[in-house]
C-alpha cells in the first residue's frame, strides 16, 4: 500500500498530462492521420489517465489511507496561493474516476458516432482538452487552478456546442452558452476576491481548514451566494438554466459527456468542495437548496412537453442537477455526489442511446416521428429501458438509491426543507412520467417514421459503451445503500469538520423509502396510461391539458422574457451609448480638428510662394525694428 501511495504522489501529474498530450498531438498531427487513428489515440490517452487514476486510488478505496495527498507541480504565484498543486483526497478521487471513466467510454463511442465527419480529428482535440480541463478542475488544490479548469471546460463546451459551426443554430447556441456562463463566472471571480481578502491566499489547505475562525458570518454568506451564482451558471440552474437546452446543437456524445455527465455537475462539486464555508451560513445553504428545488420542478414540467429527443433529456438533466443542488443545499453532500455519480451513468447512457437513435434515423430528432424502434434496435432499446427505469427511481436501479437519499435527507432536515422535500417528491413523480413518455414515443407503439428511413442497430463501437453504462446504471446504486454506506464512509474524510445531513433512521426512513417507491411507480403508471394506449387515446387525453402543455413546450417563455427585458435593454443602452459616442465624443474630436483647419485656412494666403513678398516682409520688419530702437533712444 505504501508503494501505491508513493506511486500516487509521483505519478499523479500523468492524469493531467495524458489527455493534454493527446489533445496537442491530435491538434498538430490528427488531420494527417487515417480517420479512426486520431480517435483511437484520444481514447487511449483518456483511458491511460483512467488507469493511472485507478491505481493511484487503490490505497484510499481499499486500504486505510484517508489523508489528502497534495502534489505541487509548479510554483506559479506562491504569494497568491495560486500554485499548480493537485489534491488527491476521496472527493477528488471520486470525481476523477467518474470523469476519466465515463469520459473514456464516450471517447470510444465517438469513434463510431463521428465517423465520416470532415473535422474528425478536431473533435477529438476538443474532447481530450475537455478531459484535461475537467480533471484540472476537480484535482485543483486552490481556487485559482480550479477557476482555470472552470474556464477551460467552458471554452471546450463552447467549442463542442458550435462544433458544426456552419449551422446557424449551433453557432448561436455556443455563443449563448458562453455569455450566460460569463454571468455566473462574474459571481465566482468576486467570491474569489472575497476569499483572498479574508484569508490572504486561495489555497484549499488554508481556506477550507476551519474557515469559521477567520470568516465573519456576513462574508461567509456573501461568498456562498456568489459561488452559488457561479455554480448556477455552470450547472444550468434557475435563472441561468437557459443555455443548456440550446447546447443540444452540439454532437450528441459531447452532450453526453459535457452537458449531462461531467461539466454541468461542476457546480455541485464546487458547493461540496467548499462545504466548510457553506457550513457557516444557513442563508447561503438554504439558497442553494431553494434554487435547486425550483430548477428541478421547472425543468421537469418543461421536459413533459418537449418533442426533440435530446431536448427532453436536456431539461431532464437540468431537473436532476436541481436535485443535486437540493442535496448539497441540505448539507447532504454525500447524497449530492452520489446522485452526481449515478446520474452520470444513466444520463450519459440516455444521451448515447439518443445518439444511437438519431444515427439510425438519419438525423431525425423529433420523437413524434419515431416509435416502434425497440424491434429494430434491440440493444439500444433494452439499455434505454434500463436507463429510463433508473432515472425514474425504480429499485434496485441506480437512480432510486441516490434520489431517495436526497429526498430523505431534505425531509430529515425539517423546517422549510419539508416544503422543498414535498416539491422534490412531486418532481420525482414528473420525472417518471416524462421519461415513460419519452421511452414509449421513441421505442414502443406503431412506427411513425418518415418515408425512406430505415433504422438499424448501431455498430459495436457504439453499443459496447451503452452496455457498460447500462450495467453501471443497474448496479451503481449499490455504492451507497442504507444497508451498506460504502461511498459515505469513503467520502467522509473529505468532509472533515462539516456537519453532514444523513437520512433518518428507523421507521421514518422506511416510510420515506416506501413513499418514494410508490411515487416512482405511480409516475410510470400515469405515463403508461396517458402515452401507452395508442395515438388516438393520447391525443384525446392531452387535448384536455392543451394550454399548460403549450406553455411547457415553450419552456414557460423564459427565453422570450429575457429577450424582452435583458437583451433588448442591453441593446437599447448600447444604442444610447453609441449615440453619445457619435455626438459628444466624436463631436469634441471633430470640433477641435475643424477649429485647427479654419485657423490654418485664415493664415494660408501669407504663404504666397513669391520670394519678393517674403523679402518685403523682412524689410518691413527691419524698418519696424529700426523705428522702435530709435524711438526708445538707443
Amino acid at each position: 500500500m505504501d508503494a501505491l501511495v508513493t506511486f500516487a504522489h509521483d505519478w499523479l501529474w500523468l492524469i493531467l498530462a495524458l489527455p493534454l498530450a493527446g489533445a496537442v498531438l491530435n491538434h498538430f498531427a490528427g488531420s494527417r492521420m487515417p480517420e479512426p487513428l486520431a480517435g483511437v489515440l484520444a481514447t487511449l490517452a483518456s483511458g491511460a489517465a483512467l488507469v493511472v487514476a485507478v491505481v493511484a486510488a487503490i490505497p484510499w478505496m481499499f486500504g486505510d489511507e484517508h489523508e489528502a495527498v497534495t502534489v505541487t507541480l509548479w510554483e506559479w504565484m506562491p504569494s497568491l496561493g495560486a500554485t499548480l498543486e493537485m489534491r488527491w483526497d476521496p472527493l477528488s478521487i471520486t470525481m476523477t474516476l467518474l470523469v476519466a471513466g465515463v469520459g473514456s467510454l464516450i471517447h470510444l463511442y465517438s469513434i463510431g458516432y463521428m465517423h465520416g465527419d470532415s473535422r474528425f480529428a478536431s473533435y477529438f482535440v476538443y474532447l481530450n482538452l475537455f478531459a484535461f480541463s475537467m480533471l484540472a478542475l476537480v484535482l485543483a488544490n486552490n481556487f485559482a487552478l480550479m477557476f482555470l479548469g472552470w474556464e477551460l471546460v467552458g471554452l471546450c463546451s463552447y467549442l463542442l456546442i458550435s462544433f458544426w459551426r456552419e449551422k446557424d443554430v449551433a453557432a448561436v447556441a455556443g455563443k449563448k452558452a458562453f455569455v450566460v456562463n460569463r454571468i455566473g463566472d462574474l459571481g465566482f471571480i468576486v467570491a474569489l476576491m472575497l476569499v483572498f481578502g479574508a484569508f490572504g491566499t486561495l489555497s484549499f489547505d488554508t481556506v477550507l481548514h476551519d474557515p469559521g475562525s477567520t470568516l465573519a458570518a456576513g462574508t461567509a454568506t456573501a461568498i456562498g451566494l456568489l459561488l452559488l451564482l457561479g455554480a448556477a451558471g455552470k450547472s444550468a440552474q434557475v435563472p441561468l438554466h437557459v443555455w443548456l437546452p440550446d447546447a443540444m446543437a452540439g454532437p450528441t456524445p459531447a452532450s453526453a459527456l459535457i452537458h449531462a455527465a461531467t461539466m454541468v455537475t461542476a457546480g455541485v462539486y464546487l458547493v461540496a468542495r467548499v462545504s466548510p464555508i457553506y457550513e457557516l451560513s444557513d442563508t447561503a445553504l438554504t439558497a442553494v437548496a431553494v434554487v435547486g428545488t425550483v430548477t428541478a420542478l421547472l425543468a421537469a414540467t418543461i421536459a413533459i412537453a418537449q418533442n426533440d429527443i435530446k431536448k427532453v433529456l436536456a431539461y431532464s438533466t437540468v431537473s436532476q442537477l436541481g436535485f443535486m443542488f437540493l442535496a448539497v443545499g441540505s448539507a447532504a453532500h454525500v447524497a449530492g455526489i452520489f446522485h452526481l455519480i449515478t446520474h452520470a451513468f444513466f444520463k450519459a447512457l440516455l444521451f448515447l442511446g439518443a445518439g444511437s437513435v438519431i444515427h439510425a434515423m438519419g438525423d431525425e430528432q423529433d420523437i413524434r416521428k419515431m416509435g416502434g424502434l425497440l424491434k429494430k434496435m434491440p440493444v439500444t432499446g433494452a439499455t434505454m429501458a434500463v436507463a429510463t427505469l433508473a432515472i425514474a427511481g425504480i429499485p434496485p436501479l441506480a437512480g432510486f438509491w441516490s434520489k431517495d437519499e436526497i429526498l430523505a435527507s431534505a425531509f430529515d432536515r425539517g423546517g422549510a426543507y419539508t416544503v422543498l422535500w414535498a416539491v422534490a417528491l412531486f418532481t420525482a413523480l414528473l420525472t417518471a412520467v416524462y421519461m415513460t413518455r419519452w421511452f414509449i414515443l421513441v421505442f414502443l407503439g406503431q412506427p411513425r417514421w418518415d418515408e425512406g428511413v430505415h433504422p438499424h442497430e448501431s455498430p459495436r463501437v457504439m453499443t459496447i459503451p451503452l452496455l457498460v453504462l447500462a450495467v453501471l446504471s443497474l448496479g451503481g446504486g449499490f455504492l451507497n445503500t442504507p444497508f451498506w454506506l460504502g461511498l459515505e464512509h469513503f467520502l467522509e474524510p473529505a468532509f472533515e469538520g462539516v456537519h453532514l445531513q444523513h437520512v433518518p433512521e428507523g421507521t421514518t426512513g422506511m416510510v420515506l423509502i416506501v413513499v418514494s417507491i410508490v411515487v416512482a411507480v405511480l409516475g410510470l403508471v400515469v405515463g403508461w396510461l396517458v402515452y401507452g394506449g395508442g395515438d388516438e387515446r393520447r391525443e384525446r387525453v392531452l387535448a384536455r391539458f392543451a394550454r399548460p402543455l403549450r406553455g411547457a413546450e415553450g419552456a414557460w417563455y423564459v427565453d422570450e422574457a429575457y429577450e424582452r427585458t435583458i437583451v433588448r435593454g442591453a441593446a437599447a443602452s448600447a444604442e444610447g451609448m453609441a449615440t453619445i459616442d457619435v455626438t459628444v465624443v466624436d463631436g469634441a474630436v471633430n470640433g477641435v480638428a475643424w477649429l485647427v483647419r479654419k485657423a490654418g485656412e485664415s493664415v494660408r494666403p501669407l504663404q504666397s510662394g513669391f520670394v519678393r513678398n517674403y523679402g518685403a516682409g523682412m524689410v518691413a520688419g527691419a524698418i519696424g525694428l529700426a523705428i522702435w530702437l530709435v524711438s526708445r533712444g538707443v
Binding site: 504663404q607 510662394g609 513669391f610 519678393r612 524689410v619
Partner: protein, 101 residues
C-alpha cells in the same frame, strides 16, 4: 575737401538701398543674387568706415567673416539656382511659387 567717414557711410547706405530695390523688384534669380552681394558689400563698407571712425581693427576683421560666409552662401545658392534651371529651364522666381499655401 577730404572724404570723411560720413561720406563712406552715405555711399554704403546708397548701395544698400540700390541692392534692396534690386532684390525686391527683379525676377531673375541671378540678378537677385547680384543685388544681395551688393547689399552685403554695402554692409562691409559700413564696417570698414565705422572701424576707421572708432580707430580700431574690429570692423576690418568682421569684413573677413562676412566675405567668407558670403562665398559659402553663393556656392550653395548658385547650386540651387543651377538645379532649378536644369529642371524648369527658367530662373524666374515668380515661376517658382509651388510652395504657395
Amino acid at each position: 575737401m577730404t572724404p570723411t567717414p560720413e561720406w563712406y557711410l552715405t555711399l554704403a547706405a546708397l548701395l544698400f538701398v540700390i541692392g534692396l530695390a534690386g532684390v525686391l523688384t527683379r525676377r531673375n534669380a541671378l540678378i537677385m543674387f547680384m543685388s544681395i552681394e551688393l547689399m552685403l558689400n554695402a554692409v562691409n563698407l559700413t564696417f570698414v568706415a565705422g572701424g576707421s571712425l572708432v580707430g580700431n581693427l574690429q570692423g576690418q576683421v568682421s569684413v573677413f567673416f562676412v566675405l567668407v560666409v558670403a562665398a559659402a552662401e553663393v556656392v550653395v545658392g548658385l547650386a540651387i539656382v543651377m538645379a532649378v534651371f536644369r529642371r524648369r529651364a527658367t530662373a524666374d522666381v515668380d515661376e517658382l511659387s509651388g510652395m504657395r499655401g
